[in-house]
């Protein structure tokens, strides 16, 4: 089959690789119909996530048709399903308390040591990401093997086309959980750093959850425009002093909750961020956390900090004092996708949530490398790339 494979920093290619096979009883094989490039794929593309190996098939936002099932799979051939990017067994302690992204059984035993060393505990497995998270082949391919297919995939009714539901795999639940982790109350002012896909969905979610005001922070005009259309007020951090603006916009109190939808490759021109960038570039592993640091300073005393943005290592000059002295609550984590797929599918079906506005480009899978390049370099206009294995080159938008 054809698949997008990683070969090194800024080097991804569509190669021919062997088709996947059913290995375990609960497996299923999907024929991919739509798959997307995620902002966190760009962390792999930029080579800042450890444990990615040449030849790895990327992609953790995908959906498709069931073409083969193991004997204990509950799926049926021909069903259309969206697959959560987190792989969860459904049977362990964490899955039972719905902390799916902390599943104890999905990351193969021999691969758990690396993340256990880094983080103190092993991580659950993710599709198409690092070998720290299992090294499972991803879905930017014609076919994918889906383990624990009786737990993760959600069956999609025929009348909902791919583009309406594809983002249930990651960014919609991730934005939603980002807002949920901010514990939004009706009179709250909420600030969201980053108007990429997760930030935009977090804005949308915060508004649905009843925030009285949502303020979006970015520097790409088109992305700020999208945030505005969703109902947010916007701040361009290139032209405006963010914390001062937030203080004014919240009546001198500070915003009640902040959401960092930027993560480890944050832009920023403060000295510490530049230092972090140098360290990250030379592999010393300091995450650039300018957005998070700014968010912690901007949130009101006793406020909430939610971190859906991805971090993988350490960071320097962390405002620990502000965190403690202001009595902040912090919630973070990979998304417990399986917790949200059904309720969010319902919201898509009844029209409360529409995610299609985000898609700027549809490309054939064969053209995926160009998708990566432009999604990274033209962030203002390439807001979201959907790849379709069947699409012919000339039909590409």
């Amino acid at each position: 089959m054809r698949a997008l494979t990683w070969h090194g920093t800024h080097d991804v290619r569509v190669d021919t690789v062997p088709d996947p096979e059913i290995i375990n009883p609960r497996d299923a094989i999907l024929k991919i119909t739509s798959t997307a490039i995620c902002g966190s794929d760009l962390h792999l593309y930029d080579g800042v996530i450890p444990g990615v190996l040449p030849g790895d098939v990327l992609g953790h936002e995908f959906m498709g048709e069931v073409v083969e099932t193991g004997k204990d799979s509950t799926l049926k051939k021909g069903q259309r399903v969206v697959v959560p990017f987190t792989i969860s067994c459904g049977g362990c302690f964490h899955c039972q308390i719905k902390q799916y992204s902390a599943c104890e059984n999905s990351n193969p035993a021999e691969k758990q040591d690396m993340s256990a060393t880094l983080y103190g505990h092993p991580m659950a497995a993710l599709f198409g990401y690092s070998h720290l998270t299992g090294g499972y082949s991803g879905g930017q391919a014609e076919y994918v093997r889906v383990p624990f297919s009786d737990v993760g995939p959600i069956v999609i009714p025929d009348h909902l086309e791919d583009e309406k539901v594809l983002f249930l795999s990651d960014i919609l639940p991730t934005g939603w959980m980002g807002a949920e982790n901010a514990d939004i109350q009706p009179d709250d002012t909420v600030a969201v750093w980053g108007c990429g896909p997760v930030g935009l969905f977090a804005i949308q979610s915060a508004i649905i959850m009843g925030a009285s005001k949502v303020i979006a922070i970015d520097h790409y005009p088109h992305r700020l425009e999208l945030a505005k259309k969703l109902g947010a007020e916007v701040i361009n951090f290139k032209t405006t002093e963010v914390r001062e603006a937030l203080m004014e916009m919240s009546g001198g109190i500070g915003v009640d909750a902040v959401i960092d939808a930027v993560g480890m490759e944050s832009h920023g021109f403060a000295v510490d961020n530049m230092l972090d960038m140098v360290k990250q570039t030379v592999g010393m592993g300091a995450d650039r956390a300018a957005a998070l640091k700014q968010a912690i300073l901007a949130v009101r005393t006793g406020g909430r900090v939610s971190i859906p943005g991805v971090y993988g290592g350490m960071t320097d000059k962390f405002p620990l004092g502000a965190l403690m002295e202001k009595g902040l609550q912090v919630r973070a984590g990979q998304t417990h996708v399986q917790r949200y797929t059904k309720p969010l599918l319902d919201k898509i079906e009844d029209g409360t949530i529409d995610t299609t506005f985000l898609i700027s480009h549809r490309l054939p899978l064969e053209d995926a490398a160009r998708g990566y390049k432009n999604f990274r370099e033209e962030q203002d206009s390439w807001t979201k790339v959907v790849l379709k294995p069947g699409l012919e080159m000339e039909k590409a938008a």
Binding site: N24, P25, D72, E104, N105
Partner: protein
């Protein structure tokens, strides 16, 4: 450049290499440490021991003790999750004799016969090698109730008499069969098998699974 001296050195410790098979099925002891002054279990690593000897592992499995005990008591099941144990055949009888064939580095195997030395239903199984085995070993697994509905705490401890000692472990490390790591992985695979009915693999095709590769390498 690999020179002949290295190779002959490897040859000279071949006798010790026999012990390596034992490393394959769990956690081991060559020197029991005296425990600390706190409540951490005996098998927890102490900082003042440069080369910790007793390694054992505990996992919590969301299944009743009876179910886990029953699976383990059937020794023929153990190779399902103990990666380097090729097979175990039970002779039966009152002493629960079983013959183990364990993979050792460089395509060799180690054979031993064990007898069950203690058997408390749903709670504890202990075994020891009998004379005539390639290595001397004892092991025990205990099943105790975890709080609330968290299932059962399963602790595995395997001790062995290690001719070669540190050298043996050194070689084991070179062959990626470090016993502590092996014990941890084996127990995690046991947990996976019990909680999910299968052992997680990120292999893309059957030929890429660790099992298939192992059979290939003999």
């Amino acid at each position: 450049m690999k020179n002949n001296r290295e190779i002959s050195m490897a040859g000279s410790v071949a006798a010790a290499g026999v012990a390596l098979g034992a490393l394959a099925f769990g956690a081991f002891l060559s020197r029991r440490h005296d425990g600390g002054s706190d409540d951490a279990p005996k098998n927890a690593r102490r900082k003042n021991h440069g080369e910790h000897a007793l390694v054992g592992r505990t996992v919590t499995i969301r299944k009743p003790a009876a179910e886990l005990y029953a699976y383990w008591r059937d020794f023929g099941n153990l190779p399902e999750f103990m990666e380097n144990v090729e097979r175990i055949t039970e002779e039966g009888g009152t002493k629960g004799r079983a013959n183990w064939t364990i993979k050792a580095p460089a395509g060799t195997t180690v054979d031993l016969t064990t007898e069950v030395t203690d058997d408390v239903e749903n709670n504890r199984i202990a075994w020891a090698s009998v004379e005539g085995s390639d290595i001397e070993t004892t092991g025990e697994v205990t099943f105790t109730e975890a709080p609330g509905d968290r299932g059962t705490r399963v602790s595995l401890r395997i001790e062995y008499d290690a001719p070669g000692g540190a050298i043996g472990r050194g070689i084991a490390k070179a062959f990626l069969r470090e016993p502590e790591v092996q014990a941890r992985h084996d127990l995690k695979r046991f947990k996976m098998l019990m909680e999910t009915g299968e052992i997680a693999t990120s292999a893309h095709r059957k030929s890429e699974t660790r099992k298939a590769k192992q059979q290939e390498n003999g």
